[in-house]
Subunit: 191 residues, 2 copies
């Protein structure tokens, strides 16, 4: 049994992780993964602002949680790279202030929107594509010339993903030497 269990577990994980791959509706919409809250958590931000600081919504910042499919996470841990069929989910939630014992600071409340980044090499000429579900189960793809696509393509730390904001993965990618060259060079130029 002692030798058998790791094998059983590997088989079972392999069986389970087939469902991690992106699923599409016949009309091309991405289907929202039903169980992404049970995927691997990467990190959260509050009120993160990619345009000028003056555009930040200080009065109503939002939390953003990022999850990744377990199979992709396992591969990244081993290699520092994303396998084909990787799915990352961005969950955007309202940031509540006062409630229960909390007198200052923010905690998470209802879902405002869900987005996804998908690596599907056969399906997308740019390999990665980005989708918005809003509050629905079907994701609309951003066009290939969207701001999402260009920023992910130019500024991300590993392939098209913002690993610079996921501390556990940043440590892995740094050790494995898989950081994008443009990211590494920009990081070295910072004071």
């Amino acid at each position: 049994m002692r030798l058998l269990l790791p094998l059983l577990f590997a088989l079972a994980v392999a069986a389970q992780t087939t469902s991690d791959a992106p699923q599409y509706a016949p009309d091309g919409h991405l289907l929202r993964p039903a169980n992404y809250r049970e995927w691997i958590y990467l990190s959260s931000g509050l009120g993160m602002t990619y345009g000028p600081a003056a555009t930040a919504d200080h009065g109503n910042p939002k939390f953003e949680n990022v999850f990744v499919s377990p199979a992709a996470y396992s591969a990244f841990r081993e290699t520092g790279r994303w396998p084909d069929k990787t799915v990352l989910i961005l969950e955007i939630r309202r940031a509540a202030e006062k409630g229960s014992i909390n007198n200052a600071g923010r905690y998470q409340s209802e879902i405002l929107s869900v987005e996804a980044a998908v690596k599907d090499e056969q399906r997308f000429p740019q390999k990665w594509a980005y989708f918005s579900f809003g509050q629905t189960d079907k994701g609309n793809m951003f066009p290939a010339n969207s701001a999402c696509n260009s920023c992910h393509g130019q500024k991300a730390a590993v392939e098209n993903t913002f690993v610079q904001f996921y501390p556990t993965l940043l440590e892995i990618a740094t050790r494995k030497g898989t950081l994008n060259r443009a990211y590494s060079e920009a990081a070295q130029q910072r004071p």
Copy 2:
């Protein structure tokens, strides 16, 4: 194989989840779970303040991420209650501001401290106990008369856990009718 896989998975999960239970050193310290980042994520807060609002550290708020052992999460989903041997991990991280494409708001950086809440009915007269690891692998237990213990005992939404701050669990507990009576009554009195 089609019939065998669910069985394999159940066996493998059973084998895996035995390691979810709290583990103690001979001297009574709680051992920090090595893989808690692969547990189930519950929620995050930023700068949450339980004392007077004036005590909030607005200049240096911290992120707090909460994870729960997978076996306990599965049981909670079914029942709205925590099984014996539940472990929740509170991970406290520095909240960075400007970096890469982020111009305002906060994202997570290095770990500052890790804490745990453990339900172990045979071991603790109050059933639940609280531990601080700091940046080590061994957790020191807070004394039974600590502020942690009394606040968790009096203000938490489900048993001794602050489910009011974990939106996915709050929905389950509300549906299952397992909210603490004191919490429900206080919630009703709010405007």
